[in-house]
């Protein structure tokens, strides 16, 4: 079983965040925290991403976008909601245009609370997401293998 958790590529999507969490996400890649030492790469391309990082709540305009980004990512994939807005809607929860957290449109695996979420918390969330990514990958491999057996 190949160890694929060494190479998690992130797709960062800013929902309706106030940019506080986005700056903290980018702070994880700076020399102080250097998430790249775990093989983390921040890719802008959903087709190449493994982990979807969402900041900010879901509103009526971006719900289709988030759904599409999730669908464009190849399996196995993990979703990580960063910040309290992406978890529940946060202070914007009762706004007329906010539907709630990221889990209102796509299945979320890891919740990283905080306003704004600290880089330590985000990296901890990514580490947990990576563990889950490895598990999902093994399940995916088993699925592909069984399909191959059925076909032959």
């Amino acid at each position: 079983m190949a160890n694929i958790k060494r190479s998690p590529w992130l797709l960062h999507y800013d929902g309706s965040s106030c940019n506080g969490c986005d700056i903290e996400v980018l702070a994880c890649l700076t020399p102080v925290y250097d998430a790249e030492r775990f093989g983390v790469m921040n890719t802008g391309d959903p087709m190449q991403a493994d982990i979807l990082l969402i900041t900010g709540g879901i509103n009526t305009q971006n719900q289709e976008v988030v759904k599409q980004l999730y669908d464009q990512m190849p399996r196995p994939k993990v979703v990580c909601a960063v910040g309290v807005c992406a978890c529940t809607g946060g202070v914007f929860k009762d706004c007329y245009n906010i539907l709630g957290g990221a889990d209102t449109v796509i299945p979320v695996d890891i919740y990283v609370p905080g306003c704004a979420a600290r880089p330590q918390a985000i990296i901890d969330g990514i580490v947990q997401a990576v563990e889950l990514f490895q598990k999902r990958s093994e399940e995916h491999d088993a699925l592909v293998k069984n399909k191959g057996k059925e076909a032959s």
Binding site: S7, D34, E36, F38, N42, G44, M47, P76
Partner: protein, 291 residues
């Protein structure tokens, strides 16, 4: 017999050497930015992961075109390390690059299309220097044959310093390094997502990555050809020069911002004209004087 060993060594070792070079590249880049950086084997982890992901292909033709790109690039390297015509090597390399263009543009994604158009402009920028390098080798040695060029009495760089400068300059374009990484890059650029590789995911991207490794090893071979002569010690010198050149590329990558395509075209043609062109004139004059 020796030729077959070299060809088989190229086919088997080029991806390993290319991957290691990229790993060292990422580590040195990280150190230059005062980061710890990923492990040296990181590019291999990435490619293994990409092969295990679900394949989502926008068009069925894309995989075929990318595999053709890979095979043609391997053929280029085989021809070069097998010691055949250097002119032919570069023609096959250009054909391979055209297949990459098709593999990207066939997806009809706007980002990939912009990226592939920029790839064509990049080809326009580096092609003159590449062809002039072939001409230079011919003028210096009287042959296009790689194995005969490698057997010359003194290193060809003595006759071709200008051609060497021009070739190292366009190597930045060919290796997709900043400031000339307009079509795609290893870093995230939101303005065109991932450029030419935007619509390549999973194993398609892995094939692209492996082809890049083959290509880099081939290009490093051409750099080495400037140094190698009939003396076996020159091979060690050539390896050292290749490593220094690679380090120079990493340094340029980390210290410069990307430029617009007009400037890239102007700069690369200017450098080609003034360093390779002047070298060419001097070489022709000297040879006429000698004869």
């Amino acid at each position: 017999m020796n030729m077959f060993i070299r060809i088989i060594a190229y086919i088997l070792l080029a991806p390993i050497v290319g991957g290691l070079l990229e790993g060292i590249d990422r580590k040195i880049s990280a150190r230059m930015q005062r980061r710890v950086g990923p492990p040296i084997l990181q590019p291999f982890y990435d490619v293994i992961k990409l092969f295990k992901k679900q394949v989502i292909s926008v068009t069925t033709g894309q995989s075929f075109l990318l595999i053709t790109y890979l095979i043609l690039m391997i053929v280029t390297g085989i021809m070069f390390y097998g010691g055949t015509d250097i002119l032919m090597c570069f023609f096959v390399m250009s054909t391979a690059a055209t297949f990459l263009y098709f593999a990207s543009v066939v997806s009809s994604s706007p980002y990939a299309t912009i990226g592939s158009h920029r790839e064509l402009i990049q080809m326009m920028s580096y092609e003159p220097a590449v062809l002039l390098a072939c001409v230079g080798f011919y003028l210096a040695t009287g042959t296009f044959n790689v194995s005969e060029i490698a057997q010359s009495q003194i290193s060809n760089i003595a006759y071709l310093p200008g051609f060497f400068v021009a070739f190292v300059f366009i190597l930045t374009i060919k290796m997709r390094k900043s400031p000339f990484d307009t079509s795609t890059s290893h870093h995230m650029h939101q303005e065109l997502v991932k450029g030419i590789t935007t619509e390549m995911g999973a194993q398609n991207l892995a094939i692209f990555q492996i082809t890049e490794w083959y290509e880099n090893v081939f290009l490093m071979g051409v750099i080495g050809l400037f140094i190698v002569n009939s003396n076996p010690i020159s091979i060690a010198v050539a390896v050292a020069v290749v490593l220094v050149t690679y380090f120079l590329e990493i340094l340029i990558d980390n210290t410069s911002a990307r430029v617009k395509y007009e400037l890239m075209l102007k700069m690369s043609w200017m450098v080609t004209l003034f360093s390779a062109g002047v070298n060419l004139l001097v070489l022709m004059l000297v040879q006429r004087g000698g004869a």
